[in-house]
Structures are given as structure tokens and as C-alpha cells.
């Protein structure tokens, strides 16, 4: 598998991750019972934060959508990096390794606080990024 293809797969997986996270994790309906009780408490308890009236539900939505924005931007960056892979060669390797380590950190975070599906997706993205980093070809004089 070439660097370009690995990065394109990482890009598509990251975009799918962003969409599913937004639909299920941010705008998903809480289950009846304890989850609904927690959400009701989050929505009804207002407090002032640096002059703004806020709730923990605002924070929850804001952080959730923040993650959606980051994932979407990273999906686009992976696609752009795929286009650069042939031209830039091994100079891209440090960038890809940083992203791979970041996605491994995401997987650990998801394992600790969420559930298995995002863990699997984030490990797959990290693997694609590592494969892309390893498969970068040295620049020839033509480049």
C-alpha cells in the first residue's frame, strides 16, 4: 500500500469518525434512566462563567462539536498530505508520526472514557498514518 493510498484511507476513516461522533456522540438522544437524569441536571443547572450564563450541557455540546471540527479539519489535512506525499517525500515523515501518535493517544482516551468502536477506528487511523510514514519514498533528482 502506497503512502498516498494510506493517507487517503486515513482521511476517509477520520471523516466517517467525525460524522458518527457528531450524530451519535453529540446529538444522540440519551438513554432513559440515569443518563436522562444526568442530562436533565446538566441542562437545568445554570451558572455564570466569566460573565456568560452557561450549563454543563453547553460545555458538553461545545467540547463535542470542538472534537467534530478537529476531526473534520484533520481529515482534510490527511487528504492534502496524500497529494504531497510524492513531492515532499521523507520530509513529511515527522508530521505523519505526530499525527499517528496523536491518534494512538485518542484511542487510549476513548478506551478510558468511551467504548470500543472509537478505539478501533482510531487505531486503524494511526496504523494508516504509520504505514504512510514508513512507505514515503526518498526524493529523486527529478523531484
Amino acid at each position: 500500500m502506497s503512502s498516498k493510498l494510506s493517507l487517503r484511507i486515513a482521511s476517509v476513516l477520520t471523516f466517517i469518525h467525525a460524522v458518527l461522533h457528531t450524530i451519535g456522540g453529540v446529538f444522540g438522544k440519551p438513554e432513559p434512566g440515569p443518563a436522562s437524569v444526568a442530562v436533565a441536571a446538566m441542562q437545568s443547572n445554570h451558572f455564570v462563567a466569566l460573565g456568560a450564563a452557561r450549563t454543563y450541557w453547553d460545555y458538553y455540546m461545545g467540547m463535542g462539536l470542538g472534537v467534530s471540527i478537529f476531526l473534520t479539519a484533520e481529515a482534510i489535512v490527511f487528504w492534502l498530505l496524500a497529494s504531497l506525499a510524492a513531492d515532499a517525500g521523507p520530509r513529511l515523515r515527522p508530521v505523519l508520526i505526530v499525527f499517528a501518535l496523536g491518534y494512538l493517544a485518542f484511542a487510549l482516551n476513548s478506551f478510558e472514557y468511551f467504548f470500543i468502536v472509537p478505539v478501533i477506528v482510531e487505531i486503524l487511523i494511526a496504523l494508516c498514518l504509520l504505514i504512510a510514514a514508513m512507505r514515503l519514498k526518498p526524493l529523486t533528482t527529478d523531484n
Binding site: 444526568a38 451558572f47 456568560a52 472534537v67 489535512v77 499525527f99 482516551n109 467504548f115
Partner: protein, 152 residues
């Protein structure tokens, strides 16, 4: 100023933002009264999710730390892009534009759901990224005739 310098400043600002977000936003003590009551309810009401016992407090910490990881990762990548921009600014430009749009959306998101601190920080980051893009364009345009004259 060169685009690489703007990108380096952005990288440092992002790292500062990651630290402040983690200390204040993720591990900060909930405000007394209504904030503490909501946090207590989030921790106390646990439920099963795909075989794991979770709470909305877990989700809150997980989202918060995911943002910490994203900001830190992107801060390092932007530092690396500054090096790439020194060699060939035009190649780094599409990625810088993507980060600019992303941080613009994060600023709007922070304005809607958080407070002025992150909004100001993200506005400064967006401004510096736009300056990096603008100086890249000028430098590329200035460099083009040189490249053509070398070719001829």
C-alpha cells in the same frame, strides 16, 4: 514578517491554549452551587454502554482530553509546517488554510458554548494564520519571476 514566524507564534499559542484548557476546562473545580450540583449528577448517574459502565462525567472528561490531544498534536504539526513553509511555502498553504477555517469554526463554537477566553485566543490564532497565508502569497509571487529568470 516571514510566514514561518507567524506559524511558530501560532504553535506556541496553541500549546498555551492546550495547557489552559486542560487545567481549567477539563480538570478545573466545578463552580459552587448549580455547577457543582450538575457535576455531582453527572458523576452519580452511571449507565451501561456497550458493556462499559460510563457516566456523562466520563464523556465530559473524554471530550475535554480529546481536545487537549488535538490542540497539542496540531501545535506540533504547525511548528513542523513552519519548517516546510521555509523550503516551499506554497505546499504548506492549503494545510494552513484548512487550519485557519477550523480555528474560525472553533472560535464561533467557543463563543456559542463557552466564554470570551478561548474566543480571544482562537481569534488571535486565526489572525496569525491569515497573516501567514497572506505573506506566503506575496513571497511566492515575488519568487516566481526569479524562478522564471533562472529557467530562461
Amino acid at each position: 514578517m516571514k510566514p514561518a514566524i507567524f506559524l511558530r507564534i501560532v504553535s506556541v499559542l496553541m500549546l498555551i491554549q492546550a495547557v489552559l484548557h486542560t487545567i481549567g476546562g477539563v480538570f478545573g473545580t466545578p463552580p459552587p452551587g448549580a455547577g457543582a450540583a450538575a457535576a455531582a449528577a453527572m458523576k452519580a448517574n452511571q449507565f451501561l454502554l456497550e458493556g462499559h459502565t460510563r457516566s456523562y462525567w466520563d464523556f465530559f472528561l473524554g471530550f475535554g482530553l480529546a481536545i487537549t490531544i488535538s490542540i497539542t498534536m496540531e501545535a506540533i504539526v504547525i511548528w513542523q509546517l513552519a519548517s516546510l513553509a521555509k523550503e516551499n511555502a506554497a505546499k504548506a498553504r492549503p494545510m494552513v488554510i484548512t487550519f485557519t477555517l477550523g480555528y474560525l469554526l472553533l472560535g464561533i463554537n467557543a463563543w456559542r458554548f463557552f466564554f470570551s477566553g478561548p474566543v480571544i485566543c482562537e481569534a488571535i490564532i486565526v489572525t496569525l494564520l491569515i497573516l501567514a497565508i497572506a505573506t506566503t502569497k506575496k513571497r511566492s509571487a515575488a519568487a516566481e519571476p526569479l524562478a522564471l529568470s533562472r529557467a530562461s
